[in-house]
Amino acid sequence: MDYYLSVATFAALNVVLALGLNMISGFCGQVSLGHAAFYGLGAYAAALCSVAGVPFVASIAVGILVAGAFGVVVGFAALRVREDFLAIVTMGVGFLFLGVVRKQSWLGAEMGISKIPSPLDKTGYALLAIGAAITVVLLSLHVRRSWMGRAFDAVAQDEDAARTIGVDVAGYKTTAFLLGTATAGLAGAIYAHMTQLIVPDAFNFVQSITILAMVVVGGIGSTLGVVLGAVLLTVMPELFRFINDYKLLVYGALLLVVMRFSPEGLAGLYRRVSGRRLA
């Protein structure tokens, strides 16, 4: 039972992460290869607060705010560059975050931050994570249908055209970053309290790619598709223990196959089969 609970908890966290990235890259078309950095920022900020005695809920709030704040900064920087440059710049942000954290002793350097107080038990975290996931799903669906969602769409399709009809492209791009990174911060804050030890390696480039893979396999831009992608890719290592030794090989091949045959991911498959768009 506990085993399923902990898998479900991690799946829920991954849903939150993937949906956040989906808002930045899917809704607003800005490919980000550094999402794990914001996951990390939320985790570190919350951890530092908790270790210093700040109450649980406040620590989580700080995690969200710090991640969001940095997200706005990166969003502004992103305005200066486009498309392919952006992907690499965000990759750079990820490496830079780790590079700084690894060297600063107040951030735990290589040892990370440990002895993070953990006020909830397994079931508590499961409920919290799933609750967070549901909230973000609802937020994501709402944004999609709202005026903001349409503006995002316009920016993603054709920035220049959007600008000419008076859409505040800069504002919306930054907002997308804010929303996406704040949710990553939420996931990070929960994660830190759950595992009680955070080390830099947990937020590296491979993690960024894992989150992006969840978005892409699910179907970039589709909320429910991304949820499915996140759950699937979390559960996959657990299901595939019998091909354990070839895990990464399979994972890489999966990315390849999905991109080759169904670049719109699972959501794309759904559309082809049912004729309708997956929300």
Binding site: M1, E110, S114, K122, T195, L197, K247
Partner: protein, 382 residues
């Protein structure tokens, strides 16, 4: 008539078979290591060590007549895989688990095992907080700080040198070693001329080599694993640096010599394996490892091997059913002969043992010294 005979035969067979099968049900030990992913090389060594231990124990009659069985899982050195795995082990009814993995996943799993009161023995993960997770968590390897202190003693007392430059790997292992060394450097009259750090993935050290040449120390204390240490040492020698090199247990593998080749000559390392050991448990490990795997043993394998030995010894004493008794048996481990020396746990579950100093001559590891300074090498107790 025939039916009765058959029934009698079946009954007899059943009676004879039953106790035998009860004897044969294996005792299962959980085990996790990074078998895939960036840490796969350590994962492989670790698994080798653990499997060898199980084989040797079973060849010797098992634990109280029952064979030992290792339940192996891959955690890719990630905490978010280690935690569900820990829960899976608990759900599957395993009563004791050994970690063949890095600090992050081990610490995360330790919390889970402590809460579930399942004894957990870490093979080579280095973070101090692992054993602080609680009284159900133990560790059979030296903590980084302790090794660093041993190295300082080697430089000051044994080599009688003063001017040292540290080249430190940027991870928890390297940082702990460096901290331990610096903590007692004054005590041994050492002057730390400079310190340079490098990242796990670095293989090119030209700039550090140039800096070392400029600083001109007598000794270099280098922390790292074979895949950075090997190239580093080779590049240092190729660059004309003559200083004595003292390394750490991360170099304690034939892979290191294979990469550094001639540059490895004369390198001294602090470790727990003595190739010329008189201790039967250590000898047996080294010889059997080479015979089975056709490569020389390394420290990761040795540490994990000893973790399994410790677990098996506790199982033999307390049986596999009562985890509280099992934990007490583990805590009471005293002077147990293992592949890494004679082990005794302290109150924290950390190990006190002698440090082995090896030197590389003619492309092989040889005994250089043994450091048995209980005060210097004392593991922390809280």
């Amino acid at each position: 008539m025939k039916l009765k005979l058959l029934a009698a035969a079946a009954f007899a067979a059943g009676v004879l078979a039953a106790p035998a099968s009860a004897q044969q049900t294996p005792i299962r030990i959980g085990f996790h290591a990074p078998l895939t992913g960036f840490a796969a090389s350590d994962g492989k060594s670790s698994l080798n060590g653990a499997q060898l231990a199980v084989e040797q124990i079973n060849a010797d009659g098992g634990v109280n007549g029952r064979p030992l069985e290792l339940v192996v899982e891959d955690d890719q050195a990630k905490p978010d895989q280690a935690v569900p795995l820990a829960n899976k082990f608990i759900g599957d009814g395993l009563k004791i688990v050994v970690s063949g993995s890095y600090s992050g996943p081990t610490r995360a799993a330790a919390g889970v095992f402590q809460a579930a009161k399942i004894p957990y023995v870490a093979g080579y993960a280095i973070h101090p907080d692992i054993t602080r997770a609680g009284d159900y968590v133990f560790r059979t390897s030296f903590m980084g700080e302790v090794q660093g202190k041993a190295a300082a003693k080697v430089v000051g007392d044994l080599l009688k040198k003063k001017r040292v430059t540290l080249i430190t790997l940027n991870n928890d292992f390297g940082q702990a070693l460096s901290a331990g060394f610096k903590e007692v450097a004054d005590k041994f009259g050492l002057e730390i001329v400079s310190e340079y750090t490098y990242a796990m993935g670095d293989r090119q050290f030209g700039s550090i080599v140039a800096s070392v040449k400029r600083d001109n120390p007598e000794v270099l204390y280098v922390s790292g694993y074979f895949f950075n240490g090997g190239p580093l040492v080779a590049q240092l020698r190729a660059g004309g640096v003559q200083a004595q090199i003292v390394g750490t247990e991360g170099f304690d593998t034939d892979n290191f010599i294979a990469i550094a080749k001639n540059a490895a000559e004369g390198v001294i390392i602090t470790t727990s394996l003595d190739r010329e050991s008189k201790l039967p448990a250590m000898r047996k490990f080294i010889e059997d490892y080479e015979a089975k795997y056709k490569v020389g043993a390394d420290m990761v394998a040795a540490s994990t091997h000893s973790a399994v030995s410790v677990a098996a010894a506790a199982l033999a004493k307390a049986g596999p059913d009562d985890t509280a008794k099992l934990r007490d048996a583990l805590a009471a481990t005293k002077d147990l002969p293992t592949a890494v020396g004679t082990l005794t746990f302290n109150e924290l579950g950390e190990v006190n043992k002698a440090g082995q100093i090896q030197v590389i001559r003619d492309g092989k590891f040889h005994h250089f010294a043994t450091i048995d300074d209980p005060e210097l090498l004392a593991a922390p107790t809280k």
